[in-house]
């Protein structure tokens, strides 16, 4: 990093904090703080809806998957996001927004009962803390690996071992300041800023990379068909790089996981709840879907280019880093090096592993001169912050409304809850920092936690689907269904194993009755089993428990809610038109990259 890069990073920080300061004065009630006063225009919410999910892990991880699996990674966008974003906008938002629930768990309270809300609120609160901790850990690790602060630390005579701590503390403080001051509005406005920065930082990267390898046709020639087709090999699991067959992909990723995330996760739904009107809330996910549809070209493509380039030392001399005499990786992706021994890590066949997570960062260092490099690294930091702020704002809302106000201290003044919102922002971030250090020390615990979260999340969409569209669904049924679904996920995981893995964290801890061709296939099928179990159990228990009173379900269930009134909007701006446009675009992209 040279002076110009620091200048760009500094400019960004100044604006991010400035937005927080500018909004400080307008935080008068808890609704202002937690729901942005329900006054944000649709396009702002839409971009925030998309960026809250666009954490650093997404940017780094999608680039890594691009290098590993090729353009088929775009299934995570085109199958794994767009249909669900359209569904939540068209069909579910009328109930989320229309019920005036302040959070997703609160919707469950209104629709079902207290215990279903409690289950969801508590598991969600714990999950957001850990995922923000894990992403904080990831970004600090990345900063350490890229040696971006090494020059400064050397000049100031500081120990380079502190870079990890420095990166964690700095990013946490910045997110803390702006969410503490401006609450959800500040997070949303910053997410818009971050969205444009991410585009500004990554678009030239894709352009330069693509130009260098001779365009898409050059990329095809360099990598071969397995990298450059998204559907062609999906008939069988062993004929494509993902190791999943089409049914597992479409049902597991495209239906269960995707709808479970985009339609029920408060982190994203909160952005739509902040919209200024019902129509704006419904358009929020639809507007977010447009950039989402095109993001594979920004985040996946660089990964493919990184693996396609001729093998060479990854880091240009001006970056002022310690270039060691490591053996080359593939493309510009370096080998994965064991932190303690300094030796390349080997896979089960004894071949050195590639550090795919460095695909995108290596691309930045490879193509960007000082100036643009600053912008690219700022984009990376921006993506990290938008993801973290998403977690923090979702956490403080669920904590304050669904846990504190419901179980710890009901009936306090609004000012007290506003205060609690600020306080929980502080301790939420403090817990995240603790989680980040835990991830650093005990990798296995984190892997296990993430596994448990996956079990908890997998059945969620079945509960919401039945709750919103079948008025007979009861609270007892929802609660039992969720528990049964989670148990089914755990049992399925315990009985199966991905090919080549040893039993334990990867599965098979009960007995190995089935071997999946890949871990991804196992994940997708775990989700399918969890969802189906929850769906069936919820229906059965609903039928044997007492039906809920219909008068209490108005505004919460499809058949008992009047159709939302359409605002007078131009034809192209109506929710249905947006949905058709984005779906048509997605189909077209799938055909082009078949």
């Amino acid at each position: 990093m040279t002076g110009i890069d620091w200048l760009i990073l500094g400019l960004y920080f100044a604006f991010v904090l400035g937005i927080g300061v500018a909004l400080k004065g307008s935080m008068k009630t808890s609704t202002d703080f937690f729901l942005a006063g329900r006054a944000i225009p649709a396009w702002v919410c839409g971009l925030a809806f998309m960026s809250a999910n666009l954490g650093a892990q997404e940017v780094i991880g999608m680039g890594a998957s691009g290098a590993k699996y090729g353009i088929a990674t775009s299934h995570f966008y085109w199958i794994g996001a767009i249909p669900a974003m359209v569904f939540v906008g068209i069909f579910m938002m009328p109930f989320y927004y229309g019920s005036r629930a302040r959070s997703v768990p609160e919707y469950l309270r209104l629709r079902f009962d207290e215990k279903t809300r409690g289950l969801n609120a508590i598991s969600f609160a714990i999950m957001t803390i850990f995922s923000s901790g894990i992403s904080m850990y990831a970004i600090a690790k990345l900063i350490q690996t890229l040696h971006v602060f090494d020059g400064v630390f050397q000049r100031l005579g500081l120990n380079r071992a502190w870079i990890f701590d420095f990166a964690i503390i700095i990013s946490a403080i910045v997110v803390l300041v702006y969410t503490f001051l401006g609450g959800l509005s500040s997070a949303i406005y910053n997410e818009v800023l971050q969205f444009f920065l991410i585009v500004a930082g990554f678009l030239p990267l894709s352009y330069l990379g693509l130009k260098n390898v001779g365009g898409w046709s050059g990329l095809k020639a360099a990598l071969g068909p397995s990298y450059t087709h998204s559907w062609a090999g999906l008939r069988y699991a062993n004929t494509n790089r993902l190791g999943v067959e089409w049914f597992g992909l479409v049902m597991g990723l495209g239906f269960v996981l995707s709808f479970g995330y985009w339609c029920t996760d408060f982190l994203v739904v909160q952005r739509a709840m902040a919209a200024k009107s019902m129509s704006a809330a419904r358009r929020t996910p639809l507007i977010g879907a447009f950039p989402k549809m095109l993001f594979p070209f920004l985040v996946i493509l660089p990964g493919l280019i990184a693996i396609a380039l001729p093998t060479q030392p990854a880091i240009p001399p001006h970056a002022r880093v310690v270039v060691s005499a490591e053996p080359p990786g593939k493309g510009i992706i370096p080998l994965k090096v064991d932190a303690t021994s300094g030796q390349p890590m080997l896979d089960k066949d004894g071949k050195p592993q590639l550090d795919y997570d460095l695909a995108v960062p290596s691309m930045l260092l490879h193509y960007f001169p000082p100036g643009m490099l600053g912008l690219g690294l700022t984009a990376l930091l921006a993506s990290f912050m938008s993801g973290m702020a998403g977690n923090v704002t979702a956490f403080n809302t669920v904590w304050t409304y669904d846990i504190y106000q419901s179980y710890i201290r009901p009936g306090a003044t609004d000012a007290h809850y506003l205060w609690m919102g600020r306080a929980s922002t502080v301790f939420g971030i403090a817990f995240s920092i603790a989680a980040a250090y835990m991830a650093n020390r005990f990798n296995n615990i984190m892997d296990m936690l993430q596994l448990v979260f996956a079990f908890v999340n997998a059945p969620l969409f079945a509960t919401f689907l039945l709750g919103m569209f079948w008025k007979r669904t009861t609270g007892h049924a929802a609660f039992t269904g969720l528990l049964a679904g989670t148990a089914a996920a755990a049992i399925h995981h315990g009985l199966t194993l991905p090919a080549g893995a040893v039993f334990g964290i990867k599965g098979g801890w009960l007995a190995v009755t089935h071997t999946y061709p890949s871990e991804m296939a196992q994940n997708f099928w775990t989700a399918i089993y969890a969802w189906s179990t929850c769906f069936v159990v919820t229906i059965i228990v609903s039928l044997i428990t007492r039906a809920p009173e219909e008068s209490k379900l108005v505004g919460l269930v499809y058949s008992l809610t009047p159709k939302p009134e359409e605002e007078p909007l131009a034809w192209y701006a109506r929710p249905a038109s947006l949905a058709i446009m984005v779906l048509a675009g997605t189909v077209l992209l799938n055909i082009i990259f078949w």
Partner: protein, 78 residues
């Protein structure tokens, strides 16, 4: 509520654009060997400058007529 995000967005991108353009114009051309001989700072700086100016103008136009609902065109998001 609070602010029209297009104003800070516009100003930030104007400043980023100016910085990159100035640096691109003054820096040593050999710097751009790694970016395929393209002065990315200069060219991309100009793009950011235009985007920033657009956002700035849009926010000022909206502020000039405060009575109308700032129903922003979706095109501004692309």
């Amino acid at each position: 509520m609070g602010i029209d995000i297009r104003l800070p967005l516009g100003i930030l991108f104007l400043l980023l654009g100016l910085t990159l353009v100035a640096y691109g114009a003054l820096s040593d051309p050999s710097l751009y060997q790694q970016s395929l001989g393209i002065n990315v700072n200069l060219y991309w700086g100009v793009v950011l400058l235009i985007f920033g100016a657009m956002m700035f103008i849009l926010s000022r136009r909206a502020a000039a007529r405060p009575e109308t609902i700032p129903q922003s065109p979706r095109s501004s998001s692309h």
